[in-house]
């Protein structure tokens, strides 16, 4: 198998207006920087983005908010992003906030071929409004549907032409389950190695889930909260 494409522009070239995208990452950690830059350049609009966070004003998904390409965000926490707040309050941007574990598990369900999950998160809160509640063993659970995304865009540390992926540290986060969930999954990696170089025992995402892979360039890997201790 050779799923390698030249770069981010080629990888995202068939993403059209009004597409639903999953974007991996937690905060600015493990986000697909190259594809976000390419999406801004391509200028596709009306996007629905499923991503735990929405970046910051000048980085990550925040860049796509600046250019008004996002119609709807589906996230668990949208953090400190002034442009996001402005668009939300003015009604330009729609936001659906859902619990973080529910977000992860709705992606997972999609990749596992399951239509829905039951979770206790949100029972008795406004998150439960309009949802089926079912009692198992004396405890209430909400039924939450698997996500349906046109494209999943993920970032990994290492990958090979088959699309096998290995993530690094907490940059793994949502990437593996989003990789499993896209109708088309695009992976950008820091290191693209020949088939056989990755130890099959260490693969986090088997290549069957990945449709396109490319070696990313110029990773900034910005730190959101730099915290240090005294020597």
């Amino acid at each position: 198998m050779n799923k390698v494409v030249d770069n981010a522009d080629e990888a995202i070239k068939d993403i059209q207006d009004n597409a639903t995208l999953m974007l991996g990452g937690f905060g600015l950690c493990g986000i697909p920087e190259n594809c976000i830059t390419a999406l801004v350049k391509k200028g596709v609009k009306g996007l629905t983005c499923i991503s735990n966070n929405a970046g910051v004003d000048d980085f990550g998904i925040g860049l796509m908010l600046q250019t008004r390409q996002v119609k709807k965000m589906i996230s668990s926490y949208v953090g400190e992003n002034a442009e996001f707040e402005r668009q939300l309050l003015s009604g330009e941007l729609e936001v659906e906030l859902i619990p973080q574990g529910t977000l992860a598990t709705r992606c997972m369900a999609s990749g596992y071929g399951m239509p829905a999950i039951y979770t206790p998160a949100g029972v008795g809160t406004e998150v439960a409004i309009g949802k089926e509640v079912r009692n198992f063993n004396g405890k209430d659970y909400l039924m939450e549907y698997a996500f349906d995304a046109d494209f999943a865009i993920v970032k990994a540390w290492k990958g090979d032409p088959h699309g096998n992926l290995i993530y690094r540290e907490t940059a793994r986060n949502f990437n593996p389950m989003m990789a499993m969930a896209g109708k088309i999954t695009i992976a950008e990696v820091e290191e693209l190695v020949p088939a056989g170089d990755l130890d099959p025992d260490q693969i986090h995402t088997p290549g069957i889930y990945v449709h396109r892979i490319f070696k990313g360039v110029n990773y900034e890997k910005r730190i959101e909260q730099r915290t240090v201790r005294k020597s």
Binding site: F26, G30, Q100, P120, T170, N173, K221, I223, T227, V228
Partner: protein, 218 residues
């Protein structure tokens, strides 16, 4: 009266040997500083890490290694990384022994509100709803009263809920209280605080049985 450090120190006494613990943002994060050395406690960070260590030394920050508050951190020997689904899997299946988090309001039946204030910009619940819906043991670190002097320990939460009937214990600047079926049960007073002061600051049902001892921090 306790300051934030005092609240964190008192909560640290609730952490037992061999516990897996999830610490929320704010005062709960400080609790890590007061868990005794060699206590064999493992901290879970819900973005995908067991075995969270202290902040890195200057120059050793790693952009790929952060906690749920997006702060740069380190790992300790024996740590492991995993994805977000597994992270909430271990939370949902009650493998995490103790969850410590902040709150805006708690009601006397253990409901908690800590994610949304109507009319203000809503940032989201993050992992809080998952944590409170599943944790075996939830301790809340909070101020007893708000800036206007109004009680945050209520008969019923006025703010949108994060979870229902889930809080087990509360540590405030004034007191330590258990949440029982009959209401808030006063267990300890903060140094220099009278039972009367705690009564005046608590709007929910308050149970006071016998002499209430002053808490020990060390």
């Amino acid at each position: 009266m306790l300051d934030k450090t005092g609240i964190a120190k008192r909560i640290a006494k609730e952490v037992k040997r061999g516990y897996y613990v999830n610490l929320g943002i704010g005062i709960p994060t400080l609790v890590a500083n007061y868990i005794p050395q060699g206590f064999d406690v493992v901290l879970q960070s819900e973005n995908g890490l067991l075995g969270m260590g202290p902040f890195p030394f200057d120059g050793e920050e790693d952009a790929d290694l952060i906690n749920a508050g997006k702060q740069t951190i380190t790992t300790l020997p024996g740590s492991s990384f995993f994805d977000s689904a597994m992270s909430f899997g271990m939370i949902r299946s009650c493998k995490v022994d103790l969850t410590i988090l902040g709150a805006m309001e708690v009601s006397d039946n253990g409901d908690i509100a800590n994610w949304k204030i109507p009319g203000k910009m809503v940032k989201g619940m993050g992992g809080a709803m998952d944590l409170v819906a599943s944790a075996k043991n939830i301790i809340v670190a909070m101020q007893h009263v708000n800036k206007a002097g109004e009680s945050k320990l209520l008969p019923k939460c006025s703010l949108p809920l994060t979870g229902v009937g889930c809080v087990k214990k509360i540590v405030t600047e004034l007191a330590v209280l258990d949440v029982t079926q009959q209401g808030f049960k006063l267990l300890e007073r903060a140094p220099g605080i009278s039972v009367e002061q705690i009564k005046n600051a608590t709007l929910g049902r308050l149970i006071i049985e016998g002499d209430i001892p002053e808490m020990h921090l060390d």
